[in-house]
């Protein structure tokens, strides 16, 4: 475990090999311990980042103690709790232009790629990089696929792709190097909503195949 300050008022507590469920539990503990001194907190893949209103009062030892206490109690935590969000995806065709390449790369049929992709239970390990972008854990190793050598300049919002050992959804139109296998109409980034991201760290994602043409 390591602690480092990434801004005058913000520190990251890095907890290697803690599953997301445990990170969320430790984050809860920090919220209780520091109450109003803690103005923001969030979990990333293997760390918790905390922003304080009075950072000068924070002792590294205090942070460590809380984590150690948690490690002692961790047996009671169900790592399967979390919302399950279904993502309807139209696979292949114009909206999933790289599906056939991914299928031939693995020597499988397109249907088999879709079957394996929709079979997975994916955990959101963090939202980051750009607004509402989910990092998903749980892509079946048989679907791991190299990224494109030359990124696509503009991918439409909702593009579902595979990049290396990760799968994910592009919430906004952006450049990207992943192999695009489908598209969803769900809006992952909803700036007008109270919670502007459809997904949160700790959620589970289930891809569901839908057919038909957009609109």
């Amino acid at each position: 475990m390591k602690i480092y300050w990434i801004a005058e008022d913000t520190c990251t507590v890095k907890l290697d090999s803690f599953p997301t469920a445990h990170l969320l539990k430790v984050e809860e503990g920090f919220k209780q311990l520091y109450a109003e001194n803690l103005i923001a907190s969030y979990v990333t893949i293997d760390a918790i980042t905390l922003t304080f209103s009075r950072p000068g009062h924070i002792q590294d030892s205090e942070l460590l103690t809380l984590v150690t206490q948690h490690q002692r109690n961790e047996k009671g935590i169900m790592s399967t709790s979390g919302r399950i969000i279904e993502i309807p995806v139209r696979y292949g065709g114009k909206e999933g232009p790289d599906l056939s390449w991914v299928a031939s790369y693995h020597g499988l049929s397109e249907e088999e790629i879709i079957r394996r992709h929709t079979e997975g239970n994916y955990r959101v390990t963090m939202i980051g990089f750009v607004p509402a972008f989910p990092y998903l854990d749980g892509l079946h190793p048989s679907l791991h696929t190299p990224r494109k050598e030359i990124p696509t300049l503009t991918l439409p919002a909702g593009s579902v792709g595979i990049g290396g050992s990760q799968t994910g959804i592009y919430p906004l139109a952006s450049p990207g190097g992943w192999q695009i296998i489908g598209r969803t109409d769900l809006h992952l980034f909803q700036p007008e909503q109270k919670t502007p991201s459809l997904l949160q760290a700790g959620d589970y994602v289930k891809f569901v195949q839908v057919r038909g043409i957009k609109g």
């Binding site: 801004a7 005058e8 923001a40 893949i45 980051g128 607004p131 509402a132 991201s197």
Partner: protein
């Protein structure tokens, strides 16, 4: 209402920033030079949640359909009101039908134009700032273009002539960037530690609200291990495999996977905000405690400026 006659290189609306959405991948955004923004804002009596125009480089031209009291703070981009020079750090009465243009790159990079009462634009996620990556906020969700109009929340018909001004330059007129050791400091080579201490770096042309790529001696880690992405903030100095450091700025990504050699002290972010491509920078290593002390000192100074402006405004604003 103002109308954009020429947008210049890059003009957006920015306020204090969009706080509290880091966990959803949304960076704080807001004015790159928070101190200059604050000064322009205070001069016209606005709150920090009210956006001002952030005008980057010379070239912009704005037509005032209605009269207004405005203030400029930050870079000197050769502002001309009806072809007569106007200074930064001052309340300025602009009559209806007048034009302001930014004619010449003199010092700095970004000037803030605040209008008394602010512009009539909706708040998105608690802020009026343009969130470029998502195409929302700041009225148009993009940099301003020719023909765009922005209505005022209030209009002013009585002219005034202020005879006082404040200095909005000294907080950024330096080339020294103080930083403390980043989480991956120890993974960098001794040579890299030496370079960042003692070499001069220049701003490349790849500089925008997301980040600045620097030119200078390359930095390298001693081992090439894959990093798991984690939180980064404004001022994080990260080093991609090519070795040219990148400093993340207001619209930077919220998580990153490149090794971080350092973190820029918040008090020196306005200096970066006012640098232009080709400008020189040098780094000075300090401790986190020193960075916090500098922040405290700057906070006291900002409070004094605020108190002085408010005192002047209470006496009627003009003298």
């Amino acid at each position: 209402m103002i109308e954009v006659i020429r947008p210049g290189t890059f003009t957006t609306l920015q306020d204090h920033g969009r706080r509290g959405y880091h966990h959803l991948g949304v960076s704080p955004g807001g004015a790159m030079d928070q101190v200059s923004f604050e000064m322009a804002t205070l001069l016209v009596g606005n709150s920090l949640q009210t956006a001002a125009l952030e005008i980057t480089f010379a070239g912009a031209e704005l037509f005032f359909h209605e009269s207004a009291v405005i203030a400029l703070a930050g870079a000197d981009l050769g502002a001309l009101l009806e072809e007569r020079p106007v200074s930064t750090g001052k309340r300025i009465y602009v009559p209806a039908g007048a034009t302001i243009r930014f004619a010449q790159q003199r010092a700095g990079c970004r000037v803030y134009l605040a209008v008394e009462g602010g512009f009539e634009i909706p708040r998105v996620m608690g802020s009026e700032s343009t969130l470029l990556i998502a195409g929302v906020g700041g009225g148009y969700g993009r940099p301003l273009q020719k023909g765009d109009t922005l209505a005022f929340r209030q209009t002013r018909s009585t002219p005034e002539q202020a005879n006082w001004f404040i200095d909005t330059h000294s907080h950024w007129s330096s080339s020294r960037i103080r930083f403390w050791k980043g989480p991956e400091w120890a993974s960098f080579s001794d040579k890299s530690h030496h370079h960042i201490h003692s070499s001069t770096y220049h701003l490349s042309r790849e500089m925008n609200r997301m980040g600045y790529r620097l030119k200078g001696p390359h930095l390298e880690t001693t081992s090439r291990s894959e990093m798991i992405s984690e939180a980064v903030t404004v001022g994080t100095i990260q080093v991609p495999p090519g070795g040219a450091p990148i400093i993340l700025m207001a619209d930077g990504q919220t998580t990153g996977g490149y090794p971080r050699i350092g973190q820029v002290a918040q008090v020196d972010l306005p200096i970066l905000a006012q640098k232009r491509p080709g400008d020189e920078l040098y780094f000075e290593l300090i401790s986190l405690d020193e960075a916090r002390q500098l922040q405290q000192i700057q906070r006291l100074w900002r409070n004094e400026v605020r108190a002085a402006i408010n005192w002047k405004l209470r006496r009627g604003g003009t003298s």
